[in-house]
């Protein structure tokens, strides 16, 4: 579904991604993990069109998409939840969700999808008319996820869904992500910690200093020492 080949991207003279290859197949949950400054957020920003890559190519459902703007990509079924719970704080929960469904014309289906996300995230139904800024951190993350679901994306990319959330709340968020994956949604998730990703991941990439240093299916990486070694940059033998 998504193929990233030898992608190079950066900020001015700083190259954050130095030739990254990543593949996401339909129905998978792919995790990209790595320490601070590894280029994880840059990766998602570039795929979603918020940044333009300086080299390499990105294909989404067979078509070249590098260099296209975020609005276009969003209409093609590529959704991104940026890092740090980007919700529209002074708008109500209802309006936040409406913005998510904005690109769609099929109003009857939007209504039934709206019911669906409100069933998935009951707290949002409770606070439907309230201002989004009054929600707690976990609720805001759920709202951000719900909003992007309403775009009916083929691929949903999430930048650090667990950032700044309490363990119990992270469980809820991961729980809802699993449910969404079971309905057929493909996920590409960036996380900083390797802790909780094993239960959900179909495949994992470890990114360090702008390069993929390890990739593998969940089964291949059950021995977490290799993962840790790649993450922290030891050679595997030493670890």
């Amino acid at each position: 579904m998504l193929e990233v080949k030898q992608m190079v991207a950066g900020y001015g003279r700083l190259t954050a991604l130095k030739g990254v290859d990543i593949t996401v197949k339909k129905g998978e949950v792919v995790f990209v993990v790595g320490p601070n400054g590894a280029g994880k957020s840059t990766l998602l920003k570039t795929i979603s069109g918020l940044m333009t890559p300086t080299g390499g190519e990105i294909r989404f459902q067979g078509e070249r998409i590098d260099g296209r703007g975020p609005e276009t990509l969003c209409r093609r079924g590529l959704a991104l939840i940026p890092e740090g719970r980007h919700i529209f704080k002074t708008l109500t929960v209802q309006e936040n969700l409406q913005v998510g469904a904005m690109i769609r014309k099929d109003s009857a289906e939007v209504r039934s999808d709206m019911e669906m996300v409100l069933d998935t995230f009951p707290i949002l139904r409770e606070r439907f008319k309230g201002v989004a800024g009054n929600l707690s951190g976990g609720e805001q993350q759920q709202l951000a996820i719900a909003r992007s679901i309403l775009q009916r994306p083929a691929l949903l990319m999430i930048d650090e869904p667990s950032l700044g959330l309490a363990p119990l709340v992270i469980d809820q968020v991961y729980d809802s992500l699993r449910k969404l994956n079971e309905t057929g949604l493909t996920l590409l998730i960036v996380e900083q910690s390797t802790g909780r990703i094993m239960e959900l991941a179909s495949r994992i990439y470890v990114l360090r200093n702008g390069k993929v240093v390890l990739e593998g299916d969940r089964e291949e990486l059950t021995d977490t020492s290799a993962l840790d070694a790649a993450y922290f940059g030891f050679s595997s033998d030493a670890a």
Binding site: A79, H86, F88, T90, E95, Q98, G100, L135
Partner: protein, 357 residues
């Protein structure tokens, strides 16, 4: 009842305005009526500015440009048939030698303002927030320099006199109500919602499929039309047009009104304009002085401006989001988020009042 509830944010603004206007029309003196009419025209302009600035979060200092363009356009078409060929000899012949009916003149002038807003917006709306604000100011300076020096067409910095005066308090009210309705319909529309989302978070709005450029351009154009309407009303209320009236003084007065009322809601715009207009008028009268028995009491000249500045300072310190705090008035008997019905008599604001967590 639900329809009434949905329209409440508009009705709650329009009905009191109409009430005040009716009272003034019945019992007020001619001078009070003049002041109220001018305030209503300012309201039209302030709402025009709000359509763009309130929804996009980008303050525009340049909307007087569109006001001036429409005012001059209607002056060219309707003013002084005898003098026009001499004083404004540079006008195209068909405008110079003809006088046009009032309504078509008004409509074409408003359309011209809208077209100019769209054209300048094509460039300005590519800029990010602060640069866009400053560039609107630059736009106003450009227009000011051109119109002050284009002597054969605009009479330079002299005043064009002799426009037909047809704007009564009821016409001003009608226009104010019209633009309140337009502004409300826009802000709850798809494009208005997108723009408000972009105001809160550009990245997330883009990721939801919003084009920052187009959503801002649409608002800028619409607000240009409304500012144009205000320009036509000004021109046909005063009967005169002078470029000096469409410059910094007026711009900052109206920006101040929006800031004090609350930039981010329609109710804020209405409350701000009303409140400041009343304050200005009260202190202007106090400056002129009134007599108690045989003694004449007055406050020193210039205190009106000082008091206005003081009020603005207090608002900025204690209530940054303005008097209305960015909220619309909401139907007071509606069901709350938590399911309880709010008691009768309490006016609730559109957003729940809990402090931000």
């Amino acid at each position: 009842m639900r329809i009434f509830e949905r329209l409440f944010p508009v009705l709650a603004l329009v009905i009191p305005l109409a009430g005040v206007v009716w009272t003034i029309d019945q019992f007020g003196s001619a001078s009070v009526e003049r002041v109220a009419t001018e305030a209503l025209i300012r309201l039209v302009f302030a709402i025009g500015l709000y359509i763009f600035a309130g929804n996009s979060g980008i303050v525009s200092f340049g909307h007087m440009t569109f006001c001036a363009i429409a005012a001059y356009a209607t002056a060219w078409q309707t003013c002084c048939a005898m003098l026009k060929p001499i004083t404004m000899s540079g006008l195209p012949a068909f405008i110079r030698d003809n006088t046009f009916p009032l309504l078509p003149a008004a409509l074409t002038s408003i359309a011209l303002a809208g077209v100019v807003a769209f054209t300048s917006g094509l460039i300005l709306m590519r800029l990010s927030s602060l640069s866009a604000s400053i560039s609107t100011l630059a736009l106003m300076f450009i227009l000011n320099v051109i119109y002050s020096n284009w002597t054969t067409v605009t009479m330079g910095s002299s005043t064009i006199v002799g426009l037909p005066v047809y704007v009564t308090i009821w016409i001003a009210l009608g226009c104010a109500v019209l633009v309140i309705v337009i502004a409300y319909l826009y802000q709850v529309s798809r494009w208005g919602l997108m723009l408000r989302a972009a105001r809160e978070d550009e990245v997330a709005a883009q990721a939801s499929g919003t084009s920052l450029y187009w959503s801002r351009l649409i608002a800028f154009t619409l607000s240009g039309f409304v500012a144009g309407l205000a320009g036509v009303l000004f021109a046909h209320f005063m009967g005169t047009v002078s470029i000096a009236n469409f410059f910094l003084n007026h711009t900052f007065l109206i920006v101040a009104m929006l800031v004090i009322g609350g930039m981010q809601s329609l109710a804020g715009a209405v409350v701000g304009v009303t409140f400041i207009s009343v304050v200005i008028e009260l202190f202007r009268r106090a400056e002129v002085g009134f007599s108690v028995g045989s003694t004449q009491i007055s406050i020193p000249a210039g205190s009106q401006e000082l008091i206005l500045a003081g009020i603005m300072l207090l608002i900025l310190i204690f209530r940054k989001a303005g008097i209305m705090g960015g909220k619309e008035l909401r139907w007071p008997w509606s069901v709350r988020d938590d399911g309880t019905v709010v008691g009768v008599g309490q006016v609730r604001l559109a957003h729940s009042a809990d402090s931000h967590r």
